[in-house]
């Protein structure tokens, strides 16, 4: 089992190498094509004379030729050490390390919540197919899906933060967090409720539709009829024979959605002032900070690969056939 997982991980990582290289070259080319460099971006905010601009270009290595800069950049990418970010003036890996946990927590919670809510509601809709409840759930899901996530976020902001004052307006923790691990965790959770809910609700419809469709399909399958013929209790048939196989497409979609969710978190992090990877990415692009952009993109790529790996493992658990075929048994 361990060697199999190990092999799967190794294969996935190897597959990722060309992807990462292509992405890295693409970033460099795109940023080169755009007018202006990191020094221009910086001076737009501070002003400065010719000597100042020249000194910064020299210090940040922007006075070197295109080829030299490209080679230095690719070397940094290959070595997985992106050097110093000019926008935040610290090593790129430190900058990402500071922001990644928040984004992981927010995204992880949002993914699980949206999938859980989506599957449960989708299941309920499937069991009430064609009735009022089915229609209601479907419409609500679609409306939420059609809503831009920043708008939903702003609605929450106006209603729940400014008017009702139920939730804090920004950040991931209070300025002076309460003592004790549990109290601190609750403080963070309280801050993350709205960003997570915003992300989860907008992505929920997808899972809802998938689950509903898959359950209706499986409900009509032979093994369900066989189970009914054997006189199994209705609840057990729904759980074991309809819902479990219907979860497969949902799990597949979880993996595919991670990238989208990372993009969505940029917007939601901005609305709720969450100091995560998304707001860092925004700053990096705005400041033309090539090393930082490359680092964040790579972190995102690795994240998507890891999530898809987890999805594969979950697959093996949900669908024994997958595990069997991979372990080489007939």
């Amino acid at each position: 089992m361990h060697t199999r997982v190990g092999r799967l991980v190794a294969r996935r990582l190897l597959n990722a190498i060309p992807v990462i290289l292509i992405v890295a070259v693409g970033i460099f080319v795109l940023l080169e094509l755009a007018a202006g460099d990191a020094v221009d971006a910086y001076l737009a905010g501070t002003g400065g004379d010719a000597a100042f601009a020249e000194r910064l270009r020299r210090e940040w290595g922007l006075d070197r030729s295109l080829v030299v800069r490209f080679l230095a950049y690719m070397e940094a990418v290959v070595a997985l050490d992106f050097g110093r970010s000019v926008a935040v003036s610290m090593p790129v890996l430190d900058a990402i390390g500071q922001r990644l946990p928040v984004t992981l927590l927010m995204m992880g919670s949002a993914v699980l919540l949206s999938a859980a809510l989506g599957s449960v509601l989708g299941g309920i809709a499937a069991l009430h197919r064609g009735r009022l409840l089915d229609g209601g759930i479907t419409v609500v899901g679609l409306v939420l899906n059609a809503m831009p996530n920043f708008w939903l976020g702003l609605l929450f902001m106006v209603a729940l933060v400014v008017k009702l004052e139920w939730f804090p307006p920004f950040g991931v923790a209070s300025l002076t967090p309460p003592p004790g691990f549990l109290a601190r965790a609750l403080d963070v959770a309280w801050h993350l409720v709205l960003p997570v809910l915003t992300l989860a609700l907008t992505y929920m419809a997808l899972y809802l539709r998938l689950m509903r469709g898959a359950m209706i399909e499986t409900a009509a399958s032979d093994w369900v009829r066989a189970a009914e013929a054997r006189g199994l209790p209705r609840g057990r048939i729904i759980r074991r024979h309809i819902a479990r196989p219907a979860l497969l497409p949902v799990v597949t979609m979880l993996g595919l959605q991670t990238g989208n969710l990372l993009g969505g978190s940029v917007v939601v992090e901005t609305v709720f002032s969450v100091p995560g990877l998304g707001s860092l990415a925004y700053e990096a692009v705005h400041q033309r900070d090539l090393p930082l952009i490359a680092g964040i993109l790579l972190a995102g790529t690795v994240l998507v690969i890891v999530v898809n790996l987890l999805v594969d493992l979950a697959y093996a658990w949900l669908d024994p056939r997958v595990a069997d075929s991979r372990s080489g048994r007939p």
């Binding site: 202006g36 221009d40 971006a41 501070t46 400065g48 010719a50 933060v161 307006p169 707001s279």
Partner: protein, 537 residues
Amino acid sequence: MTHPELSRRALLKSGSALSLAAIAGLPAAAAAQKVRTGGTLVVAADGEPRNLNPAIVASNGVFFVASKVIEPLAEMDYETGLRPLLATAWEGAPDGLSYTVRLRPNVRWHDGTPFTAGDVAFSAMEVWKPLQNLGQVVFAHLEAVETPDELTAIFRFSEPTPAQLIENAMPALTSVLPRHLYAGTDIANNPHNNSPVGTGPFRFAEHRPGEYYRLVRSSDYWNVGLPHLDEIVYRVLPDAGAKAAALETGDIHLTAFSAVPLYELERLDAIDGLTVYTTGYEGITYQLVLEINHRRPELADVRVRRAMAMAIDPAFIVDTIFLGYGATASTGPIPRVAAEFYSEDKPLVTFDPAAAEALLDEAGYPRRADGTRFTLRLRPAPWFEQTRATGDYVRQALQAVGIRVEIVTADSAGHTTAVYTDHDFDIAIGSPVYRNDPAISTTILFQGGLPAGVPFSNQYGYDEPAMNEVIAAAAHEIDREKRIALYAEFQRIAAEQLPIINLVEFTFTTVASDRVKGVSSNPRWATSSWADVWLES
């Protein structure tokens, strides 16, 4: 129209005798009795400067945080013009070749080391002159700083440098660094650039990237009894909506630098417990300017430039784009608030589209069959909501007189490169800053022969001998009155030739909880030390 009643109401509502007194020019002593010591002031910060060292990067974003930690020699003051901080007295030699500064005794750095003239000499020679973003202006001819004793610094210049300029530059360009922490290091990359050590009322405590900066009271500040606050926390809130919401919920006490969108101001001002201030920024007046590329033959003709000035109504920009907050129509490169230099003696352009059309006809650009005379590409600076909106208005205004305008947008980096390096524009909306003396960052917009790539400078292809001569003469004129006269001439030439068109002068707004006292108490308030700011319980 501006709203005088608005600012008056704001002042009355704040109930702060301190700020009333400051603006009315009355002694503030009467208000001092109920001052409360203690409390944490929470303010919103737009972003996190990559370098927090104001001696290297003299910019508003840096000063907003760092000016509470690191002090300059002197600060601007509503009553006296210049208030002593680290310097107690200053005097220029009659020949303009030396400038003597007496320093404050019994000042300590936050790490306990005594502050001496050596720190000033080091800052001037090793930082302000070679490294500072604006250092070439004032310190170009600085040769040495002598320190005959611990508390005297004598600046020696190779060419006459006006004492007036040095004094006007003191608040922004003379932040003093601790020599013992910087000498012998790579100053531009010294770690203290991001955890500053200074002599100011607050010491730097921590920075959590993406979250906040925290400053705490310095227990042995030289001005005994100050500061009033225990802590200042800058919450990083890039989103304007989040800032407005946080003000409403009371999670932050103050936003500065127009962090809240103008259209929110009226609503916020109407909320009990919040006040909108439009004062406290006079020392950093921004100018909304139509930048013109003289390389276009049409635009090299002064008649066309004058016609464009006539076609644009600054009052419309003030009323509709700035909603009356902190903006006035401009008459030239030196704003009215700079009373020392402002000159009335110059030709003025008045809004008159019909006359503009006549002038364009006369210049040889009649309306063609399709109703247009020629087409210009306009690049509005992307950094302020108002620069973008003014771009839209200028487009409409010029099209009304037959000049077709295409708007080209870019992000900050793209915009500065296009305008100031590649000269890839016909007209642009820019926002240069008047920094208390024309020589610091204003004449550079008119001086010819500058290298490409310097942002916020004359990259317009305008090179006029008479203008260049006046600018050069003023840079070396030691006599105050003569220097002022030269700048009057500078304004006259600028008004006559209109190399660029100054549209509007604007300052920023501060929105603060009424609990915050001492807001806008000097002309550089947001970028000053806040030693006298206090928080009502």
